[in-house]
Symmetry: C2
């Protein structure tokens, strides 16, 4: 019997946002793996668990996923990680990957699980869903992500202001991820579109160091953390009629 490969989503940083299911896996005898950017580096995911009363197992395994967009370097890293994991699974022990946030949302778990299943197609993979950082940001700021019939667009800000202009008429909420490299431009854009008062900035959402800035204009010129997002509500969206209810109709 092979062990199972489990992605335990731990939420964005607050150890209280770990689900009971993820907690149970952490308490089991599954081998813990945690991602780092470089050998011996800090792991945000492991950091979440160290803020709990759980004892650190003696045999935790570090998996190096370099911070690069070079596909070949990444492929080698995933293959190496898969080679570490598969023998453990084949020996019958479960392996749990500690994942910050939600494993289906901007995590590398999908890639890793593909490489593992390439090495051994019989490995069963289980993903335990978790709280994404932008839901934690919405909770902390008391700004709804979505109310009835609302639309939500989640986009890395790096696609630029023309893209934001194209999306704006379609969305009640925009979640702008990784705003750091164009923070000043985004602030100017919000100002021009009359949305400054509808935006909130959140650094390290859900983590102990979380910082919330409601008056985002104050951030102009500031160097913010890489893990920064903005929630933008768009009260001016012109809505089409929405087809609701339980009756099937032709459109």
């Amino acid at each position: 019997m092979r062990g199972k490969l489990i992605a335990a989503s731990l939420g964005p940083g607050d150890a209280g946002l770990i689900t009971r299911k993820a907690w149970q896996v952490l308490e089991s005898d599954a081998l813990w793996c945690y991602p780092v950017r470089r050998k011996g580096g800090r792991s945000h995911a492991l950091g979440i668990v160290t803020r709990t009363e759980l004892a650190m197992p003696d045999d935790i395994v570090e998996l190096v996923f370099p911070m690069t967009h070079d596909g070949q370097v990444l492929a080698r890293a995933w293959a190496r990680a898969a080679e570490k994991i598969v023998p453990v699974l084949q020996a019958g022990r479960d392996v749990v990957l500690l994942v910050e946030g939600d494993a289906s949302t901007f995590s590398t778990f999908t890639y890793l699980s593909r490489y593992v299943q390439q090495l051994d197609a019989d490995v069963v993979v289980e993903t335990i869903a978790g709280v994404p950082s932008f839901n934690a940001a919405a909770a902390s700021t008391s700004m709804p992500l979505a109310e009835t019939d609302d639309t939500v667009g989640i986009v890395p800000a790096g696609y630029g202001l023309d893209e934001l202009d194209a999306l704006l008429p379609h969305f009640d909420t925009l979640v702008l991820l990784k705003v750091k490299p164009l923070l000043d431009s985004v602030i100017d854009w919000l100002d021009k579109r009359g949305l400054l008062a509808q935006a909130v900035f959140v650094e390290k959402a859900g983590a102990p160091e979380e910082r919330i800035v409601h008056d985002v204009a104050l951030l102009k010129g500031e160097k913010v953390n890489y893990l920064s997002l903005m929630l933008v509500r768009n009260p001016n969206r012109v809505r089409g009629e929405v087809m609701r209810g339980c009756k099937k109709k032709d459109v």
Copy 2:
């Protein structure tokens, strides 16, 4: 000292997806409130808790939020709920609203908290973030919601196919909510856009009765549950360049 009004997000249905923080509040002596559509009706949120080992308190309070889009009827319902809650808070006891999914995502908690704070501006409101249904759907289907630099659009399907056509070029993933009333039309649309194989249908995501259908074309003509969504991956999106990294640049 007033009590706190707490929204405890319970996740989409699997009691294992309740966070430790929400669990702690449920174990405290806070007064439980749960939403129903009509007096004495079933509460999905309460149902999640009944599937745990927690004992049901004797004094739980039902709050009626009718399933209507009539603003006046809803306003009366929220006002009535707020009138039930505020005296408890003013007597110094915490009140916890049981919320299915995530309290910031398509829940009525935002409305309720506004009415409570209208009656008593000094009430402190706390939102505990939870796992949204579409993250649970992604985990169950092993379909990523977002990989590196991806964009995600979350839209009620009821806005129609023209709206989907307008959004498609901008998104790597579309989450189509409440697909029931136009299920057949959406299936035809997916077929025309070459996306049938990239879509998955999930009924009651994250709940014990969850149903996953990978071959969505099989659903044509079927009457599905109201709580149904589709995840659609769009591998053909033409991406602009994304500005990344930590250096600030002008755009």
